[in-house]
């Protein structure tokens, strides 16, 4: 009962600090352990594997004219041939990786731009908030694909432009979500402590607020990745992608649709791969979102936890 007894120390849970420092790893790991997360990751990895090692294992060059158009599957061509008599299997194996790279790049651009805009708007408030969010509203007024098409028709179908167009079309949605998450965090007193330390707003956003937004950013990134895949393959279907002889899942659906009665595989396989990939990423994102809610508990759960102690309520 002495006044200055050092508070009794409670042993820290082993390994906890490491996980805490890399919170995104901890969330990913927990998400993979859920059945939903495992299923999503398995689906997405399957498609990812095909796209990545595909070019190395393809039996034929993707643009070689080898047989008659829309030939049925055979021993030599397991998925038949396309409208020019090229091997569908080889084109499928070669046609995914560029789509994936573009989708990831567009997601990175969209989340980075959106998060920066949303966080700044929420933290700076006042005029900056109004300005940024009205800009976001204007961008939101266009449907995403229309916005992307608008840019492409103005400048031309360049791959980098597709990536930027898709990224920019994501940014407003990301900005809205991150703005509301930041509003909550920037109300907390540790942000005021940093202000009293004379920290610059940019540093406060990066060092104090950002580490507390890892979970919403991860969920947004997963969601936007799914949309990027859909948008980029959609644009490819419309002809905005690599120029024709190059294989591309989105454009394959378009170029082979007239041959559906004779060789459906030329359309069905690329379509199914795009579908599996988006279902996979979306399911995995859903698992992340559920885990993240568990990490930052809902208020009523938190109340029970403070009453009973975090270890026992787990």
């Amino acid at each position: 009962m002495a006044v200055d007894t050092p508070a009794t120390s409670r042993p820290a849970r082993p390994g906890a600090p490491g996980l805490r420092r890399h919170q995104w790893m901890a969330v990913l790991r927990a998400a993979v352990r859920t059945p939903r997360g495992a299923a999503g990751l398995a689906l997405a990895s399957l498609v990812l594997l095909i796209a990545i090692i595909g070019p190395a294992v393809a039996p034929h060059p993707p643009d070689a004219l080898l047989t008659t158009e829309f030939a049925k599957p055979s021993g030599q061509f397991p998925l038949g041939s396309d409208f020019l008599g090229r091997d569908v299997l080889s084109r499928v194996l070669n046609g995914g990786w560029i789509l994936l790279i573009m989708a990831v790049a567009a997601t990175v651009i969209g989340v980075a731009a959106g998060a920066t805009a949303g966080m700044s708007a929420a933290y700076l408030r006042g005029r900056s908030d109004g300005l940024i969010m009205r800009g976001v509203d204007v961008l939101l007024a266009f449907p995403q694909i229309v916005f992307a098409l608008l840019l492409l028709s103005m400048i031309g179908p360049k791959l980098w432009l597709i990536v930027i167009a898709v990224g920019v079309s994501h940014a407003p949605q990301v900005a809205r979500v991150l703005r509301s998450a930041t509003l909550d965090v920037s109300e907390r007193d540790f942000v005021k402590v940093a202000e009293l330390q004379g920290m610059s707003p940019a540093k406060i956003l990066g060092k104090e607020i950002l580490p507390n937004l890892i979970s919403p950013i991860m969920v947004e990134a997963g969601l936007r990745l799914t949309y990027s895949i859909i948008l980029i393959s959609g644009l490819a279907f419309l002809g905005f992608g690599q120029p024709p002889p190059a294989p591309n899942w989105g454009y394959m659906i378009n170029e082979n649709q007239i041959g559906l009665p004779s060789n459906p595989w030329a359309v069905v396989v690329p379509a199914a791969l795009i579908a599996l990939l988006t279902i996979g990423t979306n399911t995995f994102t859903d698992a992340i979102a559920r885990v993240a809610i568990g990490v930052e508990r809902r208020p009523e759960e938190a109340a029970l936890v403070t009453d009973l102690g975090p270890e026992t309520a787990e």
């Binding site: 009962m1 120390s9 820290a12 402590v193 009293l196 507390n212 009453d307 102690g309 270890e311 309520a313």
Partner: protein, 607 residues
């Protein structure tokens, strides 16, 4: 006078026992660790039992179990709650629902969330009666009756209002009126005055007391505030780690506490009448499932012997009380007093470190402060006291530069301060340090304690790594946190430990002025005492100037030399603490002092 009531109680014939609780136990899940265990007590008609305990002691869980309710994840695993002889826990779900509200009622902590914001209060009161058909013949006249009993004007205007159009005190009275509307046998009150100002609190407590007495209601009053309970209850049960560790008549229990924990708690309660050193209780309450084999208080107990750590104490009857302590009868004679503090002599009008002149502040268009004047002399502590909404926190934020919409002049060490922190020089920011009310939001949850304290140095005093770590370790030691705390994250700390980290962060840059904004209001009383003593020691040792903002007048005497009383944004009076507390010049101050709940026992030091 509460003491007179309890003293005359034994003269009356004992009333009938209304509530009898036997062997009540609540567990996590069906067979998990127990949250509340082996609880037995009884309450007579017209009596109030005070249930006191710190956060995590299981008092709210027990209060809800009295209504046959367990929060999701918990189960009432055994025991009986006899109300007028019938076991509530044996009732079917339907019968229990019928009993709730009619025979047992509940007053929650926060009336603003307990009342439905979309229903007029009249409709809510009538609804409370209508869900129990047959209890009352004429709801309208009963509504008017209970309104009058709760000291509310039963006018149609008031009944037509929505909850948000009422003050906090009025809302709590409506909740009380609802609870008493069906003339229940038992009423459970869960900290109903926590959010209220002392004056409103006093009126609500008076209402509870008179209603229980006139209708022979048994009441269980749950609270963390010992002083509130001591003025209201005829018997008190002290909870610790899910068990009742001491149960007895209020006066006796507060005058001569037997259990070491009860003693510790009482030693931690500040008194507005004496300047005394507060004694806190080090350590923490064990969580459910970690309460060990022996006495759950043994780890923090100054009287503990080896036996205490292995053998769980059974309740024993000592001196009219049930105590769960193996050594209760041995240690009952040893009463520890609190050392009185020599009134701090102020040096002859030392030059003020900070002076606030005619400061007025507004939030948007709403004025919050009007022409506030305040001087903080060097090496002394000034308390800023006021009820909620008096502008005390706004004043602190103006001084710190967190609120910039103010006029007037604030001079620090001779330099006029700029309005906002952004316009101030780094050196000034460093010399004025601010400690926030809530340690749960003032520490970044993604940083370790070491990083949090070191960051302060990085911002103000670039030092090489080794020198910086040494300073961080030294300051943590100064607030009694060991070096192993450096690598912990805030969510691994208790509230008191977090507040120590916040204090260490402020001290590491060796400021000249420390602003403490309600730094103990979110802490338990035993922890509050430790933090107040820590601040007092540091203020003396480092010869700091300090502004201590609080709504708790009783604390002022333990820490400050002079005080400023704020009322609705203006200074009601200011002067030395001794003078203000003993001879208040302003009637408002006098009323505030009058309304502070005091412990029933006379000064614990025996003076």
């Amino acid at each position: 006078m509460p003491s007179a009531d309890t003293a005359t109680a034994p003269a009356r014939p004992p009333a009938r026992v209304r509530l009898e609780v036997a062997g009540l136990e609540v567990r996590i899940g069906a067979a998990g660790p127990d949250v509340v265990s082996d609880v037995s007590f009884s309450v007579r008609a017209g009596e109030v039992l005070g249930l006191v305990g710190e956060s995590g002691s299981g008092k709210t869980t027990l209060a809800l179990a009295l209504l046959g309710h367990a929060r999701p994840g918990l189960t009432i695993s055994s025991g009986h709650v006899f109300l007028d002889g019938a076991d509530l826990l044996a009732l079917s779900a339907g019968d229990l629902r019928a009993a709730r509200g009619a025979k047992i009622s509940y007053v929650p902590q926060d009336p603003s969330s307990a009342l439905n914001p979309t229903l007029r209060v009249g409709a809510q009161l009538r609804e409370a009666l209508q869900v129990h058909p047959g209890v009352v013949a004429d709801p309208t006249s009963r509504v008017a009756e209970v309104m009058r009993e709760a000291s509310l004007d039963p006018s149609p205007e008031l009944l037509r209002r929505y909850p948000h159009q009422l003050s906090g005190g009025q809302q709590q009275r409506i909740a009380l009126a609802m609870a008493f509307a069906c003339r229940p046998s038992l009423i459970v009150l869960d900290e109903p005055t926590t959010g209220l100002d002392v004056s409103t609190q006093r009126h609500v407590l008076d209402t509870v007391r008179s209603l229980c007495r006139s209708y022979g209601v048994a009441a269980v009053y749950v609270s963390h505030d010992l002083a509130v309970v001591s003025g209201l209850a005829s018997a008190v049960a002290v909870m610790y780690a899910g068990r009742i560790i001491e149960l007895g008549p209020t006066l006796r229990l507060f005058r001569e506490p037997l259990h070491p924990y009860t003693r510790g708690l009482i030693g931690a309660v500040p008194s507005p009448d004496h300047a005394e050193q507060l004694t806190g209780i080090g350590g923490q309450q064990p969580r459910p499932g970690r309460r060990g084999a022996g006495c759950s208080f043994a780890a923090r107990c100054g009287f503990a012997v080896d036996d205490c750590r292995t053998r769980a104490p059974e309740p024993v009857l000592v001196d009219h009380r049930t105590v769960r302590c193996l050594r209760a009868s041995e240690i009952s004679g040893e009463q520890a007093g609190r050392p009185a503090l020599a009134p701090a002599l102020m040096a002859d009008a030392p030059a003020p470190v900070l002076s606030v002149r005619d400061v007025s502040a507004r939030y948007g268009q709403t004025p919050v402060l009007a022409d506030v004047r305040l001087d903080v002399p060097g090496e002394s502590c000034v308390a800023v006291v006021g009820e909620s909404g008096s502008g005390k926190t706004t004043l602190a934020r103006c001084i710190a530069g967190l609120h910039s919409n103010w006029t007037g002049e604030i001079t620090f060490q001779g330099t006029p301060l700029a309005r906002g922190a952004r316009q101030r020089e780094k050196e000034l920011l460093k010399r004025v340090q601010y400690i926030f009310q809530n340690p749960y939001t003032s520490l970044n949850p993604r940083k370790t304690v070491g990083q949090i304290v070191a960051q302060q140095l990085e911002q103000f005093q670039p030092l090489e790594f080794r020198e910086r770590s040494a300073r961080v370790a030294a300051v943590l030691a100064d607030v009694s946190l060991g070096e192993d705390f450096m690598s912990r994250y805030p969510d691994q700390l208790s509230g008191g430990e977090r507040q120590r980290v916040a204090i260490a962060r402020a001290l590491v840059v060796q400021p000249d002025l420390l602003i403490c904004d309600e730094v103990t209001s979110s802490l338990d009383v035993s922890v509050q005492a430790i933090i107040v003593e820590l601040l007092r020691r540091i203020q003396r040792e480092r010869q700091l100037a300090m502004i201590f903002i609080t709504h708790n007048l009783a604390l002022v005497r333990s820490i400050a030399q002079s005080a400023v009383v704020l009322r609705a944004g203006a200074v009601a009076e200011s002067g030395p603490v001794e003078r203000i507390l003993t001879r208040p010049a302003d009637p408002y101050t006098a009323r505030l002092i009058e309304d502070v709940p005091k412990l029933a026992g006379p000064g614990v030091s025996g003076g």
